[in-house]
């Protein structure tokens, strides 16, 4: 699948998940049955355009309720998306991931950062965000969806900014220190996105952490044919998430963008469904 096709799928996913266009003018949220279902990616349900529910927000609302309710429904949906697609959800369906990718395409700054000291340890931060901000803090503090409240830049971009700017949500929105903090987080993530490929997905996203754990078991996966691999390293150089697909084809960091598949001169990498018979491709000698 080409880069362009994936881009169009991402654009379609963004539009479909936020197709309540009237909401962007009226400031009124969609309240129909679509919001009984969680979308697979990070898309704030307080976005005036949102047609579905945010899985991270929904999970925290159960955990921060008193008495605590185990979010079977949300966990089931996340497990379903994860078992089918793994982090292909991030690569194809997540609106906030798409926004970061668009910013990374900006021609400035010219020098993009691929790797830096501290990149690897920082990747583990998203697991801490999942455990602490999405699970532990909502469990400990009633009525506090800590991730949404203190960190989520998607909520600020998709929900906070439009509602505050429209100021038509039927509320006098008290914009204060907290909003300033969240705006700062959002601006930092957006600015970093121009330099680093999907920084929020790499370092902070709790959904990326969950789907990353599912990557090894997911139905849609990388299917390397190692007998074709010449070890040239073209796949690792092409990977914007700094994965080496020849060594860890189903790494928790792989968002299934397919750039490595396109870069491989010997067609040793394929994305497909587990158990599917490998399609006959050109032999390494033919490909070169």
């Amino acid at each position: 699948m080409g880069k362009r096709v994936r881009g169009w799928i991402q654009f379609a996913a963004l539009l479909i998940q936020n197709a309540n266009f009237r909401g962007f003018f009226t400031g009124k949220l969609y309240q129909g049955g679509g919001k009984t279902v969680c979308v697979p990616g990070l898309n704030c349900y307080s976005c005036p355009g949102a047609l579905g529910a945010c899985p991270v927000g929904a999970m925290q609302s159960f955990l921060s309720a008193r008495p605590v309710k185990l979010p079977y429904y949300v966990m089931g949906l996340l497990l379903f998306f994860g078992a089918l697609l793994g982090r292909a959800v991030c690569g194809f369906l997540c609106p906030f991931g798409f926004i970061q990718e668009l910013l990374h395409k900006l021609p400035f700054p010219r020098r993009k950062v691929r790797a830096f000291r501290g990149d690897r340890p920082l990747r583990y931060l998203k697991y801490a965000v999942l455990l602490v901000m999405v699970i532990a803090l909502p469990l400990a503090l009633a009525g506090t969806p800590a991730f949404c409240k203190y960190l989520c830049p998607a909520g600020t971009l998709e929900g906070g900014l439009p509602l505050v700017l429209l100021n038509r949500a039927g509320l006098k929105l008290p914009v204060g220190l907290l909003f300033a903090w969240k705006l700062l987080v959002l601006l930092a993530v957006l600015a970093l996105s121009a330099v680093i490929f999907r920084p929020f997905c790499k370092y902070l996203c709790p959904l990326g952490a969950l789907y990353g754990l599912a990557n090894r078991a997911a139905l849609y996966r990388m299917r390397p044919q190692m007998h074709r691999c010449t070890g040239c390293g073209a796949c690792a150089r092409a990977c914007p998430m700094q994965v080496d697909p020849a060594r860890t084809p189903n790494s928790a960091e792989c968002i299934r963008c397919g750039l490595c598949v396109e870069a491989c001169p010997t067609h040793a990498l394929r994305l497909g469904v587990r158990g599917e018979a490998p399609a006959p491709g050109p032999k390494p000698a033919d490909a070169e």
Partner: protein, 44 residues
């Protein structure tokens, strides 16, 4: 065993979704998602 992992996870997912539906959790998701979540947008 590896081949069974994905179907087992999908079955578990279906069981969890069914349990959630039986407890009316989809309605609670709707109730939360249909109102402006002040915490989520950074003003609550």
């Amino acid at each position: 065993m590896k081949k069974l992992l994905t179907p087992l996870l999908l079955l578990l997912a279906a069981a969890l979704v069914c349990a959630g539906l039986a407890l009316g959790q989809h309605a609670q998701v709707l109730a939360k998602a249909a109102r402006v979540c002040l915490e989520c947008i950074g003003v609550g």
